[in-house]
């Protein structure tokens, strides 16, 4: 119990810094990224070179796009666990169809399941109000099953990675990954959509208070269906980019990216409960996770210890970030 003078005392420096960062939530994230890179450089002097940066960006991009799907769905209070399956499907279909088909036709075929799964997800969540976690989990199971059936019909056809995708996925131009040609406009589009379009507004509003949006004339199912279709299409595009990067189609190609994509969005400051967040943070979140993976690979320690460290760092980063941003 204390009685404090009400006169405004000068704000201490530490608080000022905190408040400064709270208003610009990207800054602490960038600082963290830099710290991780510095640690890496100390552990393996010389590793941070042009080639390493290019590699890191190449692997961070597919993760960042999938994390974009999560960011948008999380804004509405949802989650899209089917992105891994969708990306895998479009990649696999592209690689197998391009053997006998015109690339454009193969592309259309590859995007078809993405659109379909998006629509089914959207209708399930938007019309039938199935929980997004369950809905997208279910469609991803169904998608995986379909892919396995499909796979058997094309064993004999073999697979081929179209040159264009390989160029996009792995190529460098003046040391800069070509994948940025796809990613930069895409990211700009997502950021713009979220901040400056009616649709973006609705995503935030729906996630914040669905009843309020309804009373304002918003038709929930339209927003949600559009959202999940967009998310699926993005995932499909990611699959194509990813197959260009990995160059080996398999039935579980993009599956390992699903949980990290959720983690990237959360580390980037998007609330899993909806209504709060943005895409720029997510991009940095994806970079942080990619650098972290490298860091842990470089460390010579048993696999078990590495996983423990990964979990602890993800937790610590998210907690520290929340502390900084929620200081108000």
């Amino acid at each position: 119990m204390s009685t404090t003078a009400i006169t405004p005392t000068p704000v201490p420096f530490g608080r000022r810094v905190k408040r400064f960062m709270a208003d610009r939530p990207l800054i602490p994230l960038i600082i963290l990224l830099v710290i991780l890179v510095v640690i890496l450089q100390i552990l393996r002097p010389g590793i941070v070179n042009e080639r390493w940066i290019a590699n890191t960006i190449k692997f961070a991009i597919p993760l960042a796009i999938l994390a974009g799907c999560q960011t948008m769905t999380m804004l509405t209070g949802g989650i899209d666990l089917s992105v891994g399956t969708v990306a895998t499907m479009s990649a696999f279909i592209m690689a197998t169809q391009v053997v006998n088909q015109d690339p454009a036709v193969a592309f259309l075929l590859a995007m078809m399941p993405a659109v379909l799964i998006g629509i089914v997800n959207g209708i399930g969540v938007g019309v039938f109000r199935v929980h997004p976690l369950i809905m997208t989990l279910g469609t991803s199971l169904i998608g995986t099953g379909c892919l396995q059936v499909y796979q058997r019909t094309v064993i004999a056809s073999g697979a081929k990675i179209p040159d264009f995708l390989a160029w996009l996925g792995t190529g460098l131009t003046w040391g800069i990954p070509n994948a940025l040609l796809l990613f930069v406009p895409l990211a700009a589009l997502i950021v713009f959509t979220l901040a400056r379009t009616g649709f973006g507004r609705l995503l935030y509003a729906v996630g914040d208070n669905e009843r309020a949006t309804r009373l304002s004339g918003v038709q929930y199912w339209q927003v949600i269906t559009a959202l999940y279709v967009i998310s699926s299409v993005l995932a499909g595009i990611t699959g194509l980019l990813y197959i260009g990067l990995i160059k080996a189609p398999s039935l579980s190609l993009a599956e390992p990216l699903v949980l990290p994509s959720v983690a990237a969005a959360v580390i980037g400051g998007t609330s899993i409960f909806g209504g709060r967040g943005g895409y720029t943070g997510t991009i940095i979140g994806a970079l942080i996770l990619t650098v972290l993976t490298t860091l842990l690979t470089i460390l010579q320690m048993p696999e078990g210890a590495r996983r423990i460290l990964f979990g602890l760092i993800v937790l610590f980063v998210t907690a520290a970030y929340l502390r900084i941003v929620e200081e108000r």
């Binding site: 080639r51 692997f59 396995q148 064993i155 189609p249 190609l253 010579q300």
Partner: protein, 319 residues
């Protein structure tokens, strides 16, 4: 036409090797003409889940069960129950501890030893090797580790520069390779646990020196061994068609022809591209029409009788 019902239990789905194994089982069942129906439980699960599948197969009253065990010891109880119920049990790919079961298996320890020994020879018995294992905690991975360590002990001047678990995932392996290359640490060879073609891709893309690479006989890698200029490497066979052999063994036992021993080991072969002789083997084995994740050794002489068309069609009896 056939008279038997055969149950199949497998616990890894969506991986080229296992898909080939299941297709080989189907093709062999069809080719033998003795099987009326296959009852396949094929999904991603653990030993407890495999116990469930095996017990379901017992409920389905199959005549024999061919199983790729999730764990040698973990499904003992289920296999014992199956034998008690008069069902012939054949384990493929890995051994099981249940004594009543028959085993026809690729020799995983030998698989690793053979490849590692050749690799260390190529490296001149010294230098640093990048050791890319499979999934931490998987029993095939720990068997292979034994073989690798044995070869390592025989070449005391070879050092492991870095040991990683790829989780048998292509993207992870590629990222690990690229990260490692970016550190600039010199290496003299790469041993991979069957995640091979992406490693060659990574070496080529990053314009790093092409060091010798040992992988498995996956179609993609076998193709690379002939086509990538300057690549020295070897593919160690690890045929998924062992599944077909398992069906054959089960049928023999059902027909009353028991093998002399409970365990039949299929020894791996090594195809390298350092010698003309090896190149010829590779050329003969290469099959660009197969999915790159499929092992090219789609049949095992003496054990399988199906044609390539049959295994590629992947159809069992009655389909």
């Amino acid at each position: 036409a056939g008279k038997y019902t055969i149950g199949i239990s497998n616990t890894v789905q969506g991986n080229g090797w296992r898909e080939e194994m299941v297709c080989a089982m189907k093709a062999q069942a069809l080719a033998s003409g003795e099987v009326a129906k296959l009852n396949i439980a094929h999904r991603n699960t653990d030993a407890a889940g495999q116990l469930e599948d095996i017990r379901n197969l017992i409920s389905a009253k199959v005549d024999a069960i061919v199983v790729n065990p999730a764990d040698p010891a973990g499904i003992k109880a289920g296999l014992e129950e199956a034998t008690k119920a008069g069902i012939v049990v054949v384990a493929v790919d890995q051994a099981v501890t249940e004594p009543s079961a028959y085993i026809i298996s690729n020799n995983q320890e030998q698989y690793a030893y053979l490849g590692a020994k050749w690799l260390f020879q190529q490296m001149g018995g010294k230098g640093d090797v990048f050791y890319m294992r499979g999934a931490a905690g998987a029993s095939a991975d720990s068997d292979r580790d034994k073989g690798f360590k044995k070869a390592l002990a025989e070449s005391p001047d070879v050092k492991v520069a870095q040991e990683v678990f790829t989780g048998w995932q292509q993207d992870q392996a590629k990222q690990q390779m690229l990260s490692f290359l970016a550190t600039g640490t010199p290496i003299n060879g790469v041993w991979t646990s069957g995640i091979d073609n992406v490693i060659v891709d990574a070496l080529v893309e990053s314009q790093a020196p092409l060091v010798p690479v040992v992988g498995a006989d996956n179609a993609g890698f076998v193709g690379q061994l002939s086509s990538v200029k300057g690549l020295v490497g070897a593919a160690v066979t690890n045929p998924g068609s062992i599944g077909g052999a398992g069906v054959t063994l089960a049928l023999q036992i059902l027909d009353g022809k028991k093998p002399a021993q409970q365990t039949v080991l299929v020894e791996p072969q090594l195809w390298e591209n350092a010698t003309e002789e090896g190149k010829a083997k590779l050329k003969a084995a290469a099959d660009p029409s197969l999915s790159p994740e499929w092992p090219v050794s789609i049949s095992i002489p003496d054990w399988t009788t199906y044609t390539k068309e049959q295994i590629v069609a992947c159809k069992g009896p009655g389909e």
